[in-house]
């Protein structure tokens, strides 16, 4: 279990390219977040949870992040919390065995509660 957690954390760090150790715990990310009240975990928590290796909790609850990247834009240390969420979403998709999702399959998978911006951000990785 421990090794799986560690592997997941490493995967998130590698996929996102985020250095969570640069965080100085100022909370500007959570001060910037427009979707704060909607989320179980808040941007400053994403970073700390990944640093502690607590990725599985995030994988169960992350889709309310709008991927608006306000936290990425305003972080004074260049940590990019939303990029962690993008990486975690990708891991969830992969764990569900949908690593090779086709763009035309997406409409069937859409959740009506999913914020529009999150859908747009999901398309970002199919744009290439």
């Amino acid at each position: 279990m421990q090794t799986l957690k560690k592997k997941l954390t490493e995967q998130v760090l590698r996929t996102s390219g985020v250095n969570v150790r640069k965080c100085m715990r100022c909370g500007k990310c959570s001060g910037s977040c427009p979707s704060y009240e909607e989320m179980d975990y808040h941007p400053h928590q994403f970073v700390y949870m990944v640093e502690r290796g607590d990725v599985d909790a995030l994988m169960k609850s992350n889709y309310r992040c709008l991927s608006c990247m306000a936290c990425v834009e305003r972080c004074p240390r260049g940590v990019a919390p939303a990029k962690l969420i993008e990486a975690i979403r990708l891991m969830v998709v992969r764990q569900q065995g949908q690593n090779h999702l086709k763009a035309d399959q997406i409409p069937a998978l859409l959740d009506k509660d999913l914020p529009q911006q999150a859908i747009v951000s999901a398309f970002r990785k199919y744009s290439k």
Partner: protein
Amino acid sequence: MQKIGVFVCHCGTNIAGTVDVHAVAEALKNEPGVVFSTEYPYMCSETGQNIIKNAVRENGLTGAVICSCSPRMHEVTFRKAATAAGLNPYMLEIANIREQCSWIHKDMPTGTAKAIVLGKAAVAKVNLNVPLTSGESPVTKRALVIGGGIAGIQTALDIAEAGFEVDIVEKSPTIGGKMAQMDKTFPTLDCAACILTPKMVEAAQHENIKIYAYSEVTEVKGFVGSFTVKIKRKARYVKENICTGCGDCTKKCPQKKIPDEFNLGMNNRSAVYIPFAQAVPKVATIDPEHCTMLKTGKCGICAKVCTANAIDYTQQDEYIEEKYGAIVAATGYNPITLENFDEFAYSRSPDVVTSLEYERILNAAGPTDGKLVRPSDGVHPKTIVFIQCVGSRDTTGCGKQYCSKVCCMYTAKHAMLTREKYPDTEVYVFYIDVRTAGKNFDEFYRRAVEDYDVHYIKGMVGKVAPMADGKLMVQASDLLLNEQLHIYADMVVLATAIEPDKSARSLATMLTASMDTNDFFTEAHAKLRPVESPTAGIFLSGTCQGPKDIPETVSQAGAAAVKVIGLLVKNKLTCNPCVAHSDEQLCNGCSSCEKVCPYGAISYSDKEFRMPDRTTATRRVASVNAAVCQGCGACTVTCPSGAMDLDGFSNRQIMAEVDAICR
């Protein structure tokens, strides 16, 4: 042939931990010229130095190589020991096997191999060393202080009190600097002007101090003990020695809509102005960019109302040249500009102000006469949000990566002053960390929390949004409650990061003083020589060296003064004998060396030379003034014909070192 002794230092385990010092001593025994080789745990100790002295005497050594720490650390120590034993100090060389070897390598074989190579190079150099003798240069017993803020004033006063003449060059029309703009000072809350202005007056009246206000340094030549400085005295269009500072002209001047720099543009001044009531020198200055008379020739009201006849529209910038023995940089700081921090709405709402602006708002001589009102509508604010670390501790390039050091304390001060004068005001402070290291500093901050009920919230503001009703919506995180807050504030105060004054960089170039990547002046040693620049004769005072509060600035200003006094009491300075000289036979007169010399030590003259066929020819050749040359070596690498060479670091010696390394 030289008789060279090699002395390898263990430096405890600093060197011996990574370098097999015995193997180094043994290997160097076989180098050409080496007649003696030994090792010892601490070469710099009394016993270690005696080993060197005894070896010099007993073996009749003509040269020595010490394999030890950086020459910056102990070259002087070892050269003194060599001199005591009768060896010319310049016959001793250091092979740096600590900073450049043992400290940067992890395994013994690599470290040892490199230490041997470094030792070989030093031996190869000593084989070509020749004894050098230091000359002497005179000391001009006058100091220059650049910058007339509290740092510059304190340094000047301390030097002047010791009996030496000091000139202060200040670029703005008055001395006083940033401290003059402040309202109260932490942690005692005494009025800044009340403690600063007496010092300004003292400086003005001191017989040893001359103040060049509204002036700038434009050129620095020379070297420690003998600098020649060109100072530009900008035209005030007012005769400084006649103006009485009555202020009649400022009242009558028709151009009154010019943003007042002293109040950070929050109110207006006239085109002829006196920055503030206690300005020193208290004389008017005409701003040529806004004066109608100077621009169009049609006005002249100030000249008409001036009873002292001090106005002179024909005044020109003047240049004066002075000689100094020492120069102190005290160029200070400025708050950063906030164009990279649009989320705080500074450019969109006048009710978002910087801390220095807030300081002026609180000040009785400020734009609001000391009444706390919103800049937008003049209404008393009921909710004020202070945001800390705006632009500080930012590694993204938008701000500064360092902690500005003073913001935690002045924000606590602002919060406390606000709550003291206006108890009906709610005050919030958003902080990342509260850093209050300093005597009575944490107590001060705790008073703000405990006695004045200032709401300190651990978290950062994400955005400030100006609302239609004139309020400012502050969206922030409270990390301890794990909540997002929305505060509807009347005013927002940004604890803006500070940066060195823009003039510091060009000044550093003129002084050949080094700077760090943030444009703070670098000190000669971070711990042991904190008020000296690595460039001899240049000293540092105040925030030009790093963020500082007033008590620290004053301490450092005093320390810089002591160093200056220590230099000025000397009648002669020992010169560095490692100076350049030109081989006139090789010199082709191209002037390349003259152009690169930062000290102006090289000059050209026409000389007659005898040619092989017994005729004479006149050629233009370079010569070096040894008293001015600092031995930087720029000319030797520039010279295309190889005519320039540096004593103690000759081209042959450097090539011998390279050969020894490559062998």
